[in-house]
Amino acid sequence: MSDPNTSPSGCDSCSMHAQLAQMGVSLGNYDHMVALAGNPNTGKSSVFNALTGLRQHVGNWTGKTVTRAEGGYRFQDASYKLVDLPGTYSLLSASQDEEISRNFLLFGRPDCTIVVVDATALERNLNFVLQVLEITDKVVVCVNLMDEAERKGLTVDVRSLARDLGVPAVPTVARTKEGLQELVRTAAEVIAGDVRTKPLRPAAPSEVQRALDELVPMIVELAPGLPNARWVAFRLLDGDHRVRQALLSGELRELEQEQRAPVEEFSHVISIEGSQ
């Protein structure tokens, strides 16, 4: 791949190949890690494939990706590891696919999380986005399937969406790779801190806030370095037995390490198994 700085080709701004290079699973060291989350059926796997050049099977139905798959891409001078999480509707329940996503967002500490949403079903998708925003600051919303929205006569004001959510939002059509260059650029800017995010976190009712205020310091003391103690406190108040157990057994810290462990050898397996 040519260095964009030394090759002043006119395609820099128009071609996917000017700055964005697919890396497949050839990941030795990477500079940044980006997670890909979203509801099922939003074209998440299309985004993953387009960016990494891998061919995870893309199916038009729920539950295609049930484990995390990993790939990589290179943008400008940095290499990125992209982790495709299972598509889920929420992070509140206890099914295995949701837990994989949740654990990764909480403990894998991606440098940036791209949440892929379906432009034609924004309301339902936003439920999920709001839950992700509770967990992590560094989020870019990828408003995918813009072409389908257009065909259905929907106008989606992506800028207003970004303003409301407090994080950048990028319109895309992953199947034709439209907007993906802009997406990785925005992710890079969020990681670099060039774009500051201020995620929408609706204030909790006062009695809940009081409970949180009391619990959060206790949790921080118990598991220092836990990325989002507020979220853990929230889950405890909800009686989430998985989080309880994790706290009790000291598993929180272990989980954190586990999430960081590479699963590269895995992604090939998935791309084969997932397609059958």
Partner: protein, 464 residues
């Protein structure tokens, strides 16, 4: 690390107190506020214009998922796919077989002329190569037609509609409605179907879905079913109806598989895995125009090559094993015959024979190679390399080895019901991490297979 554990308990105790103070409806309030926030933002962001296509999607769904038309339409589509496959695969299969076997003869002759010992020529050309040749010529053409068609249905968004149509059946059986999805995935590959059960929240229902996934025939078993349907069922009908009848027979067998998925699920929920079926929402995604390139890629590279490669990997050693069994003699009879004779009484009891069971034993690593293995054992050491058309296979089975319609029907039933292949068993182990459930997953289908074929054989012999 003893102090932090105590602390954790203190934190939990305090959180429990706080939770009680907040009241029962805490979760509901959280979710409600989440939803209302999402709704407000969505309202500000999205302007609705004239939604033509939306209406069309809904109109199609009203037909496709309707109570009356949904299931018949599904069966019709399935039958149409099989029919096209059967009609299209016949000629290419014959061509491939002719080519391969004339090559086998020439290559073997060439080996002999070079002075290679008979056992080397036999092992390589009549063993390993013949195994490969059978697998490729029997399986490749149907796969190249069936997989693209199946992938089109998948890409269109039809599979979730299938799940929607069948949801009530699964709930009646006490299983999870999403099991219809993992089942649909099982048509592709049972191992993938077992992995797909991860979308099911409740461990009980997930286990049911894992244990019963094998009852739908996977890609590896479809060529077997299609071939049997063509050779036996189609032959029993006048030519004009033959291909339709064959397609109907395959659909029938698939229905039997679905029936046993439900029966087994029902039995499991009544016995070892008791509990209520849980509710869930299933999203019906918009219909999408499948992209031709992606369909070709997925169905030909990902699926056809994958399945074929796996078959080849197992067919080569299987061919070698059969050749060895067929050429080592003990008391004047070769080992293949000994094994077949040993299995004969059991095979006969269930309407099959010893050779078929032997083929199933050799084909445990991959179901794909059952039929090729069987044919090779039947042919033994003889040089019958002119067995190229379906007619010739039919005459080998019927005239020389006494197959009847009962044999064919029972073999189809056995193929759908019997134990999962080694990959699937391994996947069940990986997903459940339990020896007990892995054993149940492997043996329960086998018991069903023997029971059903035994009952059918007995009934036919008594009344037929």
């Amino acid at each position: 690390m003893s102090a932090p554990v105590l602390d954790a308990k203190a934190v939990l105790d305090r959180s429990d107190e706080l939770r009680r103070e907040l009241g029962e409806d805490f979760r509901d309030r959280v979710v409600t506020s989440l939803y209302s926030n999402a709704q407000q933002i969505a309202d500000r962001t999205v302007q609705v214009g004239g939604g033509r296509k939306w209406d069309l999607d809904q109109k199609i769904d009203r037909v496709v998922t309707s109570r009356v038309l949904g299931l018949p339409l599904m069966l019709f589509l399935l039958a149409a796919v099989f029919w096209v496959t059967i009609v299209g695969a016949n000629v290419p299969s014959e061509l491939l077989a002719t080519g391969f076997f004339s090559f086998e003869g020439k290559a073997a002759a060439w080996f002999s002329s070079l002075g290679a010992p008979w056992w080397l020529t036999g092992f390589i050309w009549h063993g390993v190569f013949r195994g490969l040749a059978w697998v490729v010529s029997v399986m490749l053409p149907p796969m190249m037609i069936f997989f693209p068609l199946f992938t089109i249905l998948e890409d269109l968004g039809y599979l979730p509609r299938v799940a929607f149509n069948m949801d009530w059946l699964f709930r009646k059986a006490g299983a999870h409605g999403k099991q219809a999805l993992s089942m649909a995935m099982g048509f592709g590959c049972n191992a993938a179907g077992v992995i797909a059960t991860r979308v099911i929240d409740s461990p009980r229902e997930r286990l049911i879905a894992i244990l019963t996934n094998n009852f739908v025939p996977c890609n590896g078993r479809f060529p077997t079913l299609i071939m049997l349907a063509v050779i036996f069922v189609a032959a029993a009908f006048p030519p004009a109806l033959a291909s339709v009848a064959a397609a109907g027979a395959v659909v029938g067998v698939v229905l039997v598989g679905i029936l046993f998925t439900l029966v087994a699920s029902w039995l499991l929920t009544r016995t070892v895995l008791q509990g209520e079926a849980s509710a869930f929402t299933l999203e019906l995604p918009p219909y999408r125009r499948p992209s031709i390139l992606r369909i070709l890629y997925t169905s030909l590279i990902d699926r056809t090559i994958f399945v074929l490669w796996r078959a080849i990997l197992t067919a080569a050693p299987a061919g070698a094993v059969i050749w060895i069994l067929g050429n080592i003699e003990w008391k004047g009879i070769n080992l293949a015959q000994h094994s077949a004779n040993f299995l004969q009484p059991l095979g006969e009891a269930i309407g099959l024979d010893g050779v078929i069971l032997l083929a199933y034993v050799i084909a445990i690593p991959a179901n794909e190679i059952v039929v090729p293995t069987m044919l090779m054992v039947y042919m033994g050491v003889s040089m019958m390399s002119d067995l190229t058309s379906y007619d010739q296979i039919r005459s080998l089975l019927v005239d020389q080895h006494g197959w009847t319609m009962l044999t064919a029907v029972n073999l189809m039933l056995f193929s759908v019901l019997h134990n999962p292949c080694a990959t699937t068993i391994l996947t069940i182990w990986r997903e459940t991490r339990s020896r007990k459930w892995t054993a149940v997953g492997a043996l329960m289908p086998l018991v069903f297979a023997f029971l059903v074929t035994f009952v059918v054989a007995t009934l036919v012999r008594t009344f037929g």
